[in-house]
């Protein structure tokens, strides 16, 4: 048995036999040729075929995975059709008398090496794209393009140096139980795609190719990155048990997919989903999300080298609204701060980024970028029930200023004759104690609240959740936090507006009964928490829970509350 550690990027246990994916770009024949016209013609034909393949991939990934992934292949088309790349290939054929495969390889390497030599991290990574395009051309030329991943006949775990997006999308989800690659990091294409496809995966498993052979048994945990090659019986049994209990739990929960989220005493509770990328939409819908309670738009900004354009955002918001078929989609405008590195925003390093220029404050500071997002949101609002949510509100002036700017954008659209939903609702995140205390004033000027528990806990307890020295302080069972939440819900209802919650606490099965008792209208959580939340809702009575709320809120410590709620479950 051998143990290896990689970076877990897609949760789940995988047990199966290894299939090593061979590198196909390097195994082509190098030979000298005489008929240069013939070779050039082969290139032109391969280029045409490659373009057709990529166009299909753009289409497929746009439908099955998401816009970000589709753009990867669109960029590949640009590279494939590049004038200078073609020139260099022609020179290699005409002057060096290399066969087409060889010429393509040489020309692509020329550009890839040049890009790798640049300082810029983004451009460095494009070398990968050029090699992917060259590999595609070579596969077409040598007739090896029929199947990008070897034909699978039985379930397996794929082990590879790296998987190109073009290969990932062809993976058969039924037969691939897991993926391990030597290359890659948390943000690599492999990681993002594996997660979106629900396949357990580990990247950055250095040296694994030298240690495994086809058909060997391997066990790994896609959450923690642990890999066992030819595991001993006790390890194998332990993981089998873990997998079985995960599967039976999953099966039980799947029974709740089509059930209504109604309490025992007949009260409907709205269970919404949180998302950061449209890749998550199919999973959310499949798991019965009744709406989107939090669309974190930061991802659109942090995964690109420049701010997303209005058109790009419009397409993404429109797609989301249409997929939800008239159900609510709450989109939170850009929420970032100095802890993130976004070169094109030129953010200053701050001493205290969590108390600094972030959320709505940063949007006011980058008004043009924010207006682009608002325009895209407003334009998309006619395709479904989109609502705008403002992050990090702490004073009333921010609410008013934000609404003013939204009005300006509306007026601009109106002047240009562009349609938007006139009744579009504007709500705010309640995530600072200041906003919570002033909930009555806030409620009188906005259309809804959504409680952001992660930040509310952090700011209420003055406790950085990432600091291990004080991690015992940070708790969603804290009585101060829970009393604030009760106050926010009551005040919202007094003013006739809906109150939702989109922090991690909203998906915590131990707290859901308490929040149902407090009358929270909508719970928004990650895909993985939805079914269990529904199970919890169907097992409680709202009436009974509302009766014990005062008793729980009289408890004085985090521990007492946690104990009380755990005993309920």
């Amino acid at each position: 048995m051998e143990h290896l550690l990689g970076t877990g990027v897609s949760k789940g246990i995988a047990i199966g036999s290894v299939l090593v994916k061979k590198e196909n770009s390097s195994d082509f024949l190098k030979k000298s040729i005489t008929d240069v016209a013939y070779e050039w013609n082969r290139f032109l034909k391969a280029k045409e075929v490659g373009k057709q393949q990529l166009e299909v991939l753009v289409q497929q990934s746009r439908e099955a995975i998401g816009e970000d992934e589709a753009q990867i292949f669109e960029a590949h088309i640009l590279i494939l059709e590049d004038e200078e790349l073609a020139n260099l290939i022609k020179i290699q054929i005409d002057n060096q008398k290399k066969n087409t495969e060889w010429a393509v390889h040489e020309a692509a390497e020329h550009f890839a090496v040049m890009l790798e030599g640049l300082e810029d991290a983004y451009l460095k990574e494009r070398a990968h794209d050029i090699r992917d395009v060259a590999a595609r051309l070579i596969r077409i030329l040598s007739g090896a393009d029929k199947q990008e991943i070897p034909v699978l006949e039985e379930p397996c775990i794929i082990v590879a140096r790296d998987l190109m997006p073009g290969e990932m999308i062809h993976i058969n989800k039924e037969l691939v139980m897991g993926i391990i690659t030597e290359a890659g990091a948390k943000t690599s294409h492999t990681a993002i795609l594996a997660k979106a496809m629900g396949i357990p995966a580990i990247v950055g498993a250095e040296g694994i190719l030298g240690k495994v052979k086809d058909h060997e048994i391997i066990v790994f945990d896609g959450e923690f990155g642990s890999i066992f090659i030819c595991p001993e019986k006790n390890v194998l049994d332990q993981y089998k048990q873990k997998l079985e209990s995960m599967n039976s739990q999953k099966k039980e929960l799947e029974g709740f997919k089509d059930k209504a989220s109604v309490t025992k005493d007949g009260i409907k509770v709205e269970l919404f989903g949180n998302m950061a990328s449209i890749a998550e939409l199919p999973g959310l819908i499949e798991n019965g999300a009744q709406g989107i309670g939090l669309f974190r738009t930061e991802f659109l900004y942090t995964t690109q080298a420049s701010a997303p354009t209005e058109e790009e955002q419009f397409e993404i918001y429109k797609h989301t609204a249409e997929k939800l078929q008239g159900k609510t989609v709450i989109i939170r405008t850009l929420d970032i701060g100095g802890d993130k590195e976004i070169p094109y925003l030129g953010l200053d390093k701050e001493e205290n980024p969590f108390l600094g220029c972030r959320g709505i404050r940063l949007c006011f500071d980058n008004i043009e970028i924010w207006k682009v997002q608002l325009r895209a949101l407003l334009r998309a609002s006619i395709y479904g029930d989109i609502k705008i949510m403002l992050p990090m509100i702490s004073v009333m002036e921010e609410v008013r200023k934000a609404k003013e700017i939204i009005c300006e954008v509306k007026a601009e659209l109106k002047n240009s004759g562009i349609a938007y939903n006139e009744k579009l609702e504007i709500g705010i995140m309640i995530e600072t104690p200041a906003a919570a205390v002033l909930a009555d004033a806030m409620a009188s000027e906005v259309d809804f609240f959504s409680i952001g528990t992660n930040d509310l806990i952090q700011y209420t307890l003055a406790c950085d959740r990432m600091n291990p020295k004080i991690s015992n302080l940070y708790s969603q069972f804290n009585p101060s936090v829970l009393r604030l939440i009760k106050h926010i819900i009551d005040t919202g209802h007094e003013y006739g507006i809906k109150v939702g919650m989109c922090g991690e606490a909203a998906g915590d099965a131990r707290l859901i009964p308490l929040f149902v008792g407090m009358g929270l209208d909508e719970f928004s959580m990650n895909t993985s928490a939805l079914l269990e939340a529904k199970k919890t809702v169907t097992q409680i009575s709202k009436q009974e829970m509302s009766e014990v709320v005062p008793e729980i809120l009289r408890l004085k410590t985090t521990n007492e509350i946690e104990k009380y709620l755990c005993n309920l479950a």
């Binding site: 590049d82 004038e83 790349l85 550009f111 640049l118 983004y122 080298a305 420049s306």
Partner: protein, 88 residues
């Protein structure tokens, strides 16, 4: 031949979307267009996205654009406007 020079002023330099927008714009013109960086001798072909990316232009670099052909004046004017729009 018509030419112009422009300094790159935006933080991200000339890559990703600006690079491909610039590249696509040059393809509309019949003229032979070349880009030189910081007075160096090497000419880059703006009709090739790979050539533009491998130029690796960053903030502070000065680009000289040269066009020769029937639509050279229009091309230079258009390309200058596009590059300037990235600087805003």
């Amino acid at each position: 031949m018509t030419q112009t020079t422009i300094e790159i002023k935006n933080n991200e330099g000339l890559h990703a979307r600006p690079a491909s927008e610039f590249s696509k714009a040059t393809m509309k013109y019949k003229s032979d267009i070349k880009v030189y960086k910081n007075g160096q001798e090497k000419a880059y072909n703006p009709k090739s996205i790979l050539s533009i990316m491998s130029m690796g232009a960053v903030k502070g670099d000065v680009l000289r654009i040269e066009a020769s052909g029937e639509d050279e004046a229009a091309a230079i004017e258009d390309l200058k406007t596009i590059l300037e729009s990235f600087n805003q």
